[in-house]
């Protein structure tokens, strides 16, 4: 006889959706021969010289905690990098924090600035962690619809229309997951103007900053009057293929970094030491590797976008990250239906766009961080599938 035990988990968690892909994951691992375009990380291992630097540090016994803020050498290199790349001056002693990936950076940023009930404006669709992080920090996410006609860019006017006296921040991430969208300097400057007028903090997730194709990435903190009010989140996961190392950084003014560090020092202590060592090596000597990987992603991007359009899944051209976000509306199915049927019938895994917000409904996310051969095969299978199910 089973006795119903009262739940012990916090009811706050009911506000956070459970992962939209859990059952997918289970389905995929139970099947053989699946080509997954549902991955979310590079198919390259971290460049050898970076791994080697970390291995050497382990041999030398560098296995202790580092300073809460992160190794001074890493912060110095980072400060130099941000100066060289964006002409931004961040004091390595007080304006940079090494975090456990951008994931932790996002968690810290929201918890550091939000009072209970504060609103945070963000685009829809967007990376699936934005919503939960804001809720966990006691805030309220305010979603702004974006659409294919505007290349999924966030319109400043739409943002401004949603500003209330409870709005604390704008949360954006360009280049974007899941859409691959990149915003131009001009359009971002318009958003910056809204932030400035209403004295909003901007949290800018720029993890895909290096993965841009034929366009320039605009660092939000470089926009007029934005450096003081931007919390810049960056990392090494995508550019240097260091997803598993869990290393990222936050760059912001002294007050914000101190607040984020306060939380970080109690919850994390310090980011993984061997990851920090690897990051130093990446900043010092990783440029060629990044360029090579980006060139390869670009080749695949061209192939997959062309291929998706050819098989009847119209796809706007993504200029950043490594995702294509084609529309499946022509099949009359929902994103979830499409993804599930495609997986079962043709053994190709994609992520339903609805996992990223309401405006993602009618789209699927295809990651092209996988070999050309796999992309071609996946396209061939998807083409077959679309032919059978076109309305």
């Amino acid at each position: 006889m089973s006795i119903k035990v009262p739940s012990v988990t916090s009811r706050r968690l009911n506000q956070i959706p459970s992962s939209g892909i859990r059952k997918f994951f289970d389905l995929i691992v139970s099947m053989e021969g699946v080509i997954s375009l549902g991955v979310g990380e590079p198919d390259f291992a971290t460049p050898w010289h970076i791994r080697e630097a970390a291995i050497y540090s382990l041999e030398k016994g560098y296995t202790m905690y580092t300073s809460n803020l992160g190794m001074p050498e890493l912060r110095r290199e980072l400060s130099r990098y941000l100066k060289d790349t964006y002409n931004l001056d961040y004091n390595f002693e007080s304006e940079l924090l090494i975090t456990v990936g951008v994931s932790e950076g996002l968690d810290l940023a929201t918890r550091a600035i939000l009072e209970p009930g504060d609103e945070v404006i963000m685009p829809d669709p967007c990376y699936s962690a934005y919503n939960p992080c804001v809720i966990l920090a006691g805030g309220i996410p305010i979603m702004v619809p974006t659409n294919e006609e505007n290349n999924f860019e966030l319109a400043a006017a739409d943002v401004e229309a949603r500003v209330t006296n409870k709005t604390k921040a704008i949360l954006i991430g360009y280049p974007a997951n899941p859409t691959g969208a990149v915003m131009s300097r001009d359009k971002l400057a318009q958003i910056a103007e809204v932030a400035r007028r209403h004295r909003l903090v901007v949290i800018s997730d720029e993890i895909y900053a290096r993965l841009v194709y034929s366009v320039e990435h605009t660092c939000f903190a470089t926009l007029p009057a934005m450096k003081e009010s931007t919390i810049l989140l960056g990392g090494f996961s995508k550019a240097y293929a260091m997803t598993g190392w869990r290393i990222g950084y936050a760059a912001a003014n002294k007050e914000v970094i101190a607040a984020m560090t306060k939380i970080h020092q109690y919850t994390i202590m310090s980011a993984p030491t061997m990851g920090q060592v690897a990051a130093i090596e990446a900043l010092k000597s990783g440029e060629d590797s990044v360029t090579e990987m980006v060139e390869e992603y670009n080749r695949r991007r061209l192939v997959i976008v062309q291929g998706l359009n050819d098989i009847g899944l119209p796809c706007f051209e993504p200029r950043g990250a490594f995702y294509a976000f084609p529309s499946i509306k022509g099949t009359g199915m929902t994103s979830e239906e499409f993804a599930e049927k495609l997986l079962i019938k043709e053994k190709v895994a994609v992520v339903p766009g609805s996992a990223f917000g309401q405006c993602g409904e009618g789209y699927i996310r295809c990651c092209y961080a996988t070999s050309l051969a796999e992309i071609e095969e996946a396209l061939s299978r998807m083409g077959r599938f679309v032919k059978k199910h076109k309305k």
């Binding site: 892909i21 994951f25 699946v34 549902g38 991955v39 990380e41 198919d43 895994a349 992520v351």
Partner: protein
């Protein structure tokens, strides 16, 4: 543009013109033209395939031969190098700095075959002062390709 195309072909010689056209954002006609010209002026020397012969039981023996040479008046090392590389057994021939002059990669079916080639055909060449033969025991990586022990990717199949 030509360098991009060459990089793609160097990595996979079987990439079709259409695929290259998509990957570089250039028209198929332009790509075909560039490739044809590159073949004509020998920028593209040949299209080859890298085979791991051990897998079909065709064992090959390889050896690196250090060759010390007395350079000839007026022509230096070139004439001797040419005499050597005319032999099909000499797969690769390089002029190096250091303690010896030419490095020759020789392949054959057996150690005997290689040794015979060195002693009967290579060493007696006029101008060759001496040779040192190093037999290859194991090939780990050739032409950017790792021959064995490549690990598959261990990624989470789905990640948001």
């Amino acid at each position: 543009m030509i360098k991009e195309i060459l990089k793609i072909l160097e990595n996979d010689a079987r990439t079709t013109t259409k695929q290259i056209s998509t990957m570089t954002g250039t028209s198929s006609e332009e790509v075909a033209k560039i490739i044809k010209q590159a073949e004509k002026d020998q920028t593209i020397l040949k299209y080859k395939t890298i085979i791991n012969w051990d897998k079909v039981g065709e064992e090959q023996v390889g050896a690196f031969i250090e060759v010390r040479v007395a350079p000839q008046r007026d022509v230096g090392f070139d004439a001797i190098a040419e005499r050597i590389y005319r032999f099909p057994q000499a797969r690769s021939v390089y002029l190096l700095s250091g303690t010896y002059d030419l490095l020759v990669l020789v392949t054959g079916k057996t150690m005997h075959e290689v040794a015979d080639f060195v002693s009967q055909k290579l060493a007696p060449i006029e101008g060759v002062q001496g040779t040192v033969t190093h037999f290859m025991l194991k090939r780990y990586k050739e032409d950017s390709e790792i021959l064995e022990g490549r690990e598959g990717l261990r990624r989470q199949p789905v990640m948001l």
